[in-house]
């Protein structure tokens, strides 16, 4: 064995572990009986823990420097490590939260675990992509697994319809993204993101090349917007969130968003920062539309999953505010603050989204889906503790201190104000007020109304503890946000 080559490729160790682990699990699971499936889940958690250990090792060994390996196809930097760790947390939590839910519905099959792990592998490849090729590879691996996961409950018409919609629109968006990439390849002659960055600065000064690049950029932004899920590329979100089993909605709504954020940073910030003036305007439009439509449409929803779907759209719009505040008139002083605010927002959003869907899963039981607003009525009577957790989650989503959601909003708004986008900040603030209404309505249902037929089924396997930790984390990050903010800042500075 060539040890030098092994050490050179060490930054890809987490991906290697995950790939081996996922393949091994796929085979081993064939011999595991349904009632022993918990062994597969435990093994998956072990794989995740090994991945996390490997990532931490790479993080420590690299000492904050950026490494390009596989002939410039794969990048290992602090942003990647942070996002990967976030994804492990999300996937691990998803496994814990959803075990009993899936078991009660006969969906706890080996495919679930395998697909989830391959989906995670796709995300990790996306996060570490240094080339259009790797990026697309990771994106497709992730998306294909997600389509299959949405259709996990194959006898449900709602699920299969959602999966079909997701697949058709997802394929379309991949096509758009590829088309845009091909334009940029045509202009710069390279697929490597860092080389593209070197070329665009020069090309952007010639009007004809600039037009050509912007033409490609439009499609790239559209592709990103679809994966992040912002208006007007949001159509799939409510249907997929609603149609998929809640355990899968939890997955769709968390880690893939982080991967999509990574994609946006890799393509726009690492690759096309010289076109920032152009894509910032596009993002501004997307952001305002998303905040408006997301928040307004969420009010009208009676289904919790649909409501959270629209709330996601609004939150992603808010997150974009940070991304579009980096470059001010060609000046890049604000870059670190702005992009790190988006990153912080993303991580906090992931925690909130995990928790919110986690509560829905926790309250569902055999033959009962907790998915309508009505279903939360009087939760404070039935279970004050989980009502309190949901209260923290809702106030965090609404951005009320002292929860982490407030600092996420604060950081992004601060970046926008620093960039001179005061009116955009005011618009964001007004829409987040509108947004506060529907989160408040959930608190109202839980605390002020009498319970209808809500009863807690006994839950085992640590889901309750994980959920409590998840909710309290938002309170802890709300009281002491500095460590996470500092991590985000240093990750962005290492780009």
């Amino acid at each position: 064995m060539n040890w030098i080559a092994f050490i050179d490729h060490l930054p890809a160790l987490p991906e290697a572990i995950l790939l081996v682990g996922a393949c091994a699990l796929m085979i081993i699971d064939l011999h595991v009986k349904d009632e022993r499936r918990i062994a597969t889940l435990a093994a998956a958690q072990v794989v995740l823990a090994l991945c996390a250990a490997a990532t931490l090792f790479v993080l420590w060994a690299s000492g904050g420097s950026r490494l390009l390996i596989f002939h410039g196809l794969f990048v290992s930097d602090d942003l990647g490590h942070l996002l990967k760790l976030t994804c492990y947390v999300a996937v691990s939590a998803a496994l814990i939260y959803s075990r009993q839910y899936l078991a009660e519905r006969g969906l706890l099959r080996g495919e679930f675990v395998t697909l989830l792990l391959f989906c995670l592998l796709g995300m990790m490849v996306m996060i570490s992509a240094a080339s259009f090729l790797t990026l697309f590879l990771g994106l497709e691996l992730m998306s294909l697994c997600l389509y299959a996961l949405v259709a996990l409950n194959r006898d449900s018409a709602l699920s299969t319809e959602a999966a079909m919609k997701y697949f058709v629109l997802g394929a379309l968006s991949s096509g758009l993204l590829l088309y845009g990439m091909s334009m940029i390849y045509g202009a710069t002659g390279t697929l490597n993101i860092y080389e593209i960055a070197q070329h665009t600065g020069r090309l952007a000064r010639t009007p004809s090349d600039h037009t050509f690049l912007v033409f490609g950029l439009v499609f790239v932004v559209a592709g990103i917007a679809f994966k992040v899920g912002v208006v007007p590329f949001h159509m799939w979100i409510p249907d997929v969130y609603h149609g998929a089993p809640t355990a899968v909605t939890l997955i769709v709504g968390t880690a893939p968003k982080v991967a999509a954020f990574a994609m946006a940073v890799r393509l726009l910030v690492n690759g096309l920062i010289d076109l920032a003036q152009d894509w910032q305007q596009m993002l501004a439009l997307l952001a305002v539309l998303s905040m408006a439509l997301g928040n307004l449409a969420a009010i009208a929803q009676a289904n919790l999953k649909r409501m959270l779907a629209y709330s996601t759209i609004a939150h992603m719009g808010f997150m974009l505010l940070g991304l579009l505040s980096g470059v001010v008139g060609g000046n890049r002083l604000n870059v670190d603050a702005a992009y790190s605010s988006s990153l912080f927002y993303m991580i906090v959003y992931l925690l909130m989204s995990l928790g919110a869907f986690g509560v829905l899963i926790y309250l569902s039981r055999e033959g009962f889906e907790c998915e309508n607003l009505e279903d939360l009525k009087g939760l404070n009577r039935v279970s004050p503790w989980y009502a309190f957790i949901m209260l923290i989650l809702m106030f965090s989503l609404a951005g009320i201190p002292p929860t982490a959601g407030f600092y996420a909003k604060l950081a992004v708004l601060s970046a926008a104000v620093d960039a001179g986008q005061i009116w955009l900040a005011v618009v964001a603030v007004v829409f987040s007020l509108i947004g506060a209404f529907y989160y408040l309505r959930i608190v109202k249902l839980m605390y002020f109304d009498e319970p209808k037929d809500l009863a807690l089924a006994p839950r085992t396997g640590g889901a309750g503890y994980a959920l409590s930790a998840n909710g309290l984390a938002l309170l802890v990050f709300g009281i002491l946000p500095q460590p996470l903010m500092a991590m985000c800042l240093s990750a962005i500075q290492g780009l």
Binding site: L391, V417, A425, L433, L440, K444, Y447
Partner: protein, 489 residues
Amino acid sequence: MLLSLAIWIPIAAGVVVLALGGDQRAPLQRWIALVASAMGFLVTIPLYTGFQLNDPGFQFEEKWLWIERFSVFYHLGVDGISLLFVLLNSFITILVVLAGWSVVDNRVGQYYGSFLIMSGLLNGVFSALDALLFYVFFEGTLIPMFIIIGIWGGPNRVYAAVKFFLYTLFGSLLMLVALLYLYNKSGGSFSISDWHKLPIPLRAQILLFFGFLFAFAVKVPMWPVHTWLPDAHTEAPTGGSVVLAAILLKLGAYGFVRFTLPILPDASKHLAWLMIALSLVAIAYIGLVTLVQTDMKRLIAYSSISHMGFVTLGFFVFNAYGIEGGLVQMISHGFVSAALFLCVGVLYDRMHTRMIGDYGGVVNTMPKFAAFTMLFAMANAGLPATSGFVGEFMVIMGAMKANFWLAFVAASTLVLGAAYTLWMYKRVIFGAVANKEVGALKDLNPREFAVLAALAVATLFMGVYPLPFTEVMHASVNELLRHISAPKL
């Protein structure tokens, strides 16, 4: 250290009370709440006794780096302006705990937990010297108040709670943008004293002024954004109304003296006419509206708006009488409105109605209660030798210095205030016994007596000998006036 204790003792106790869980532990929860609120008050007393009267700056300061990324400090301190509010808040908390003692028997832990946490947060608002810390406390109070109104309130509580929350959130979100703008202009500092020195052009000052105005005007509340208050007050449980009237309304007015006047003096002068006009509308028009209320709590709520109009009027005439008068009026209103809401609470606990028409001749069955209510009604009307007189008189003096007609309109409150308060008093307390429920009323129990007696002593003491209250303000108010007079364009 004292200020941190004043903030964190109630919050820690609130968490403990919440953690104790269900109603089977209610007696323990009540006692913990009482002990914690008493301790919270005790730690604020050294703030008063150790206060340096000649020092216009902040005292009892504590400063720790909190969020390095935004250079936010956990920076506390009080000056002559904020000191009394910390004391008032800690004092009122004890009364609130006592007021709910035997009345609240449903989800007791959550009730006391919410009140204690809110009390700590309110102390935080009054002692925060870092704008972001201020904002966190300011907004944080919304959550417990929302829960208090929504769970233990009257029949229309949900509507009132949501309205209260969204109204105040709207104001404070715009303030957040203003705070971030100042943070950006000051080169990355959230320190309020840094902002006092920051030069800002007039156009920006005016925009910022409106950013702050919405937040504070909603909280005060000023006409025409006052409409949430009658609903919130009416539907809140007695303790909730007391905290709302005595403390929460003071946040807005406090914001004006802490942020708007010193940071935006030029815009404040430029737009003083607007503020004075809104204040006079509140005093005169809301005074008239108060007259026709049929619900006792609603009546007191409207009278609060009218009295708070006095406060904002005093602030925007820019002289020592006006500003000190406004501050004194805030303290006095804290005592008097709290007392009046407690009085209504006493009746409501017995009769379960707040309508004036359901009462009459209460004096026949509740003589002690009638005597206390008389005192507080007089104080609300601004009778000399009660605390209500001192503040109103000072503000009218201040307004007189600025313009005779201002003082003239403002003084109309003395007539209107007497009219609505005493008319309500007459209809509820005097006359023949209206019905057999009133005939069966029992007079004050020792607990209620003690609570009302404490407030009666405070009201009378402040009316007869206001010096202990005003002398702590002088240095800080003069410093504030010096700030306002120096343009900082």
